[in-house]
Symmetry: C2
Subunit: 369 residues, 2 copies
Amino acid sequence: MNAQAPSSAFAPLQNDTFIRACLRQSTDHTPVWLMRQAGRYLPEYRATRAKAGSFMGLATNTDYATEVTLQPLERYPLDAAILFSDILTVPDAMGLGLSFALGEGPKFAHPVRDEAAVAKLAVPDMGKLRYVFDAVTSIRKALNGRVPLIGFSGSPWTLSCYMVEGAGSDDYRLVKTMMYSRPDLMHKMLQINADAVALYLNTQIEAGAQAVMIFDSWGGVLADGAFQEFSLAYTARVLAQVKKEHNGVRIPRIVFTKGGGLWLKDMGQLDCEVLGLDWTVNLAKARALVGESKALQGNIDPNVLFANPPQIEAEVVKVLNSFGTPFIGEGTGPTHIFNLGHGISQHTPPDNVAVLVKAVHEHSRRLRA
Amino acid sequence: MNAQAPSSAFAPLQNDTFIRACLRQSTDHTPVWLMRQAGRYLPEYRATRAKAGSFMGLATNTDYATEVTLQPLERYPLDAAILFSDILTVPDAMGLGLSFALGEGPKFAHPVRDEAAVAKLAVPDMGKLRYVFDAVTSIRKALNGRVPLIGFSGSPWTLSCYMVEGAGSDDYRLVKTMMYSRPDLMHKMLQINADAVALYLNTQIEAGAQAVMIFDSWGGVLADGAFQEFSLAYTARVLAQVKKEHNGVRIPRIVFTKGGGLWLKDMGQLDCEVLGLDWTVNLAKARALVGESKALQGNIDPNVLFANPPQIEAEVVKVLNSFGTPFIGEGTGPTHIFNLGHGISQHTPPDNVAVLVKAVHEHSRRLRA
């Protein structure tokens, strides 16, 4: 399909702080956005979701997806927007039958657990994901250049976890059983997933995404060695195919492996611009390991948002200070994009998010003064 | 209470491979035992549990606890036994009301969520834990010197997680809310927990435990900085009080922080003999970081046990080889105790455990030849 929106359709970018930081260029403050920033902690999100009837009803309706993506930007001076969607849209388009039961996580009607099921897998027709690309274009237009729009996908390994388990898991027994006992099937699935994810991200870029992020949410459950073979190698396969620029404009690519702190040196070799980090990682150490090749994104514990404002401010300062002196000047240097170390909790008091965003902007400006 | 059993009551130790490896002395093979080795994957365990009626019925009955502790030793030539008990016995003795609903995890009737609840906490009378010490003495006698008996406790932080949450959690929101918003209360609870854990472990040692292990099962959910302040410092407080020898015999002390791989350098400073590692850690790197001061225990992915025998053997070889050349000779050097990186799954085929244990013994002997 041709999802390409003419670049003339989009207003010029006014706040490019996030994009500059991704490209390791200096900024006058540390940009901040929050994983899952359009979500259940916002009453206006819950109202739109109620109108939509279901999570997928929300994600597949262009107007609703646009509405909820912009909601957090109305409340907080965030430096980026992220497409409202789910990481499991691609396996759904492969025919696995995604659904969200009320109060539960995602579920696949047709999990992939044997050779026959793997043999049936193929890169899906992007036409089945048109609702995602339409949402990207619609959101980009609605943003009207305020801040850049981030597109995203699950990583090949993370998609495989859900595809084999059929749902969330606390031990990953089924997917690891396939991995250890039939590595040939796992590699085949991961290749298809990687090629599908690359095409999916490229089509999002053509539709208007100005940066893309790969969520390797479950890379951290793998053993040392298995991570490199079954997760990292396929993230690299995605990156090798994803556009680095579109219409002459660079498209930063972010990779986030939750629980991947032990493999930062390996991840430093990825052909991407930004590494996302969870809260277990020390930013100074991460900067020493990979700072010269990548920007770093993260990594405050989302549970900090349940403390009181002075404590939230103190924790923000700790995270900014742990990254160290921000880069100032021409050319490129070490840069930091502030974020949570994982998605925001649905129980978060919205006012506390305002405290966090303000503290990031103010303290990061002080650090540059 | 005086739980001390006269050392003359116990037979001399025949297989001291585990104790020697803990003390960084050479052995003719790499010792192996498995976290949760007495557990639901064994049909004989399920039969005893059915007789006992419940998990706590099993743990509080000396005969049953002895029976299930010895069951895996009848099947496999394991190099150590571990007390059958639960990590939450101490908060139960504090009056929190532990129960295990069928098919669910542990639950506390009286979670600790405010200042008043914290004010009521105190180191419990060890008399309330007599069933644990009686089980230790009974198991030690029943072992008759075959292999050493390991006692254990949850870490102060891990106990606090359950005490505040009241049950398992997937986001640790309540305990982290207390930690970030009322660090004073959290520190008070952790001090009490640490002193209680130390007394509990010392009483296990007096009752017959020949090594002790601290399970910091949830240390890995903490942010960098918070781990050092709220988990590691209190594990150190426990270790400062736990006996290093008993009746002239050294008692090795093992600390296992699941998800703690990023903090191995900090953990290398602990006053203990062994560090337990989960499967995300590379043993060669861990050895380089802490191998000169501690023995290492771990760390195969328990899901490897769902593969076929040749694949299980290959993964065992990988883990043994990743530690590198075993120490041979007099004095002390780097040593490895083979284990899983986490507790064995209840779904594990028992025959596969035999394959794993045999492979550890055979390949580790080959490495020394």
